[in-house]
Symmetry: C2
Subunit: 200 residues, 2 copies
């Protein structure tokens, strides 16, 4: 990159450009905004980021990100119901929590099985899930994986591997999203919704 | 916002969402990437940002942002030619520097005149420009303001205010950008390019 901004500022732009959704151009614009708001925005943001970088850790039980060895959900006794919701990623856990409908605890896999990328069960938190089912007296595993090929492959693998564990295994219903227009849905969604049709 | 991520992480997402180009949703995605790359990306980014927040300052001469009272350009004797390029914003200065064609120094106005927003000459660095013309023996002022109504109003105001100062006042040529297709250009650009047409 040409030396058009001071070296420290270029270094900051280069790091910002590694964030998803920000290319070199928008990273430059973002840094310029930060430079103009050094006191109100840049200093607090640097502080908040350093704070999280220092304090964030993966929950040893579920893989969620929190600020202690156990995340707030695993530490909350009210959530000790015998149901575990399995998600691919912390972002999916956050989405479930925003929906506010699941009252139990989670298990974050940290990805999906992928032959292409060489990701096997041991690379995810799948063995740990079997241990939790055994140790925590879990009655139901709710598979909330993405409706992608890899997500569904992973769901089938988990269902198979837990088939002898005496636990009910369910998955989120597939269908037309609330407010969804058929015209804008892919064929797979429409097919799944048709197969899962209910008496009106 | 619902308490779906820990408080410290929500605070970080809220600050990130104030950057241009990042809404709440993409700020959340960006923070999730940072959380996954705590060591390689988040900690260095926090450090780079704190460093710039602490060290960046406005050049007392031209208004560029650097890391000393005088920016690198004002401190560079090779750029002491009697031409000053006037730009609205530091981003425009960076764009000029990337082009690498101007060898003199700059004057960053910090915005444009705007009756609507109540921004007058004293709110910009216009009085300071007149002082520089007087004190630095400037022969030419190149107005590199945006081709917007406010940019051009500001250019005319500066040209008027310096009319008795014995300095040549020029502005960037308007026309079809390199690689520009007429079909995609606005009418104003085509009109300006036609009026400024040259013998082929
Ligand atoms: Zn947990
Ligand atoms: Zn300067």
């Amino acid at each position: 990159m040409q030396d058009d901004a001071p070296r420290e500022i270029e270094a900051l732009i280069d790091l910002m450009a590694r964030l998803p959704g920000l290319g070199p151009r928008s990273a430059r614009r973002a840094v310029l905004t930060l430079l103009k708001k050094r006191g109100q925005l840049m200093a607090p943001l640097a502080q908040a980021m350093a704070n999280v970088a220092l304090n964030a850790r993966d929950c040893v039980i579920c893989g969620n990100i929190g600020t202690a060895d156990r995340c707030a959900i695993c530490a909350d006794d009210r959530r000790a119901i015998p149901e575990i919701c399995v998600v691919e990623d912390v972002a999916d856990l956050w989405a479930m929590e925003r929906a506010g409908v699941f009252k139990g605890r989670y298990h974050v896999l940290g990805g999906t099985l992928s032959a292409l990328d060489g990701i096997g069960p041991e690379d995810l938190r799948i063995p740990h899930l079997a241990a939790r089912v055994r140790d925590e007296g879990v009655a139901e595993i709710i598979l909330a994986l993405n409706a992608t090929v890899d997500g569904q492959t992973t769901a089938h693998y988990i269902a198979d591997s837990l088939s002898g564990a005496g636990v009910a295994i369910t998955s989120l219903a597939q269908g037309v999203p609330i407010g969804g227009e058929l015209d804008y849905l892919d064929d797979g969604t429409i097919g799944a919704a048709l197969r899962a049709r209910k008496r009106f």
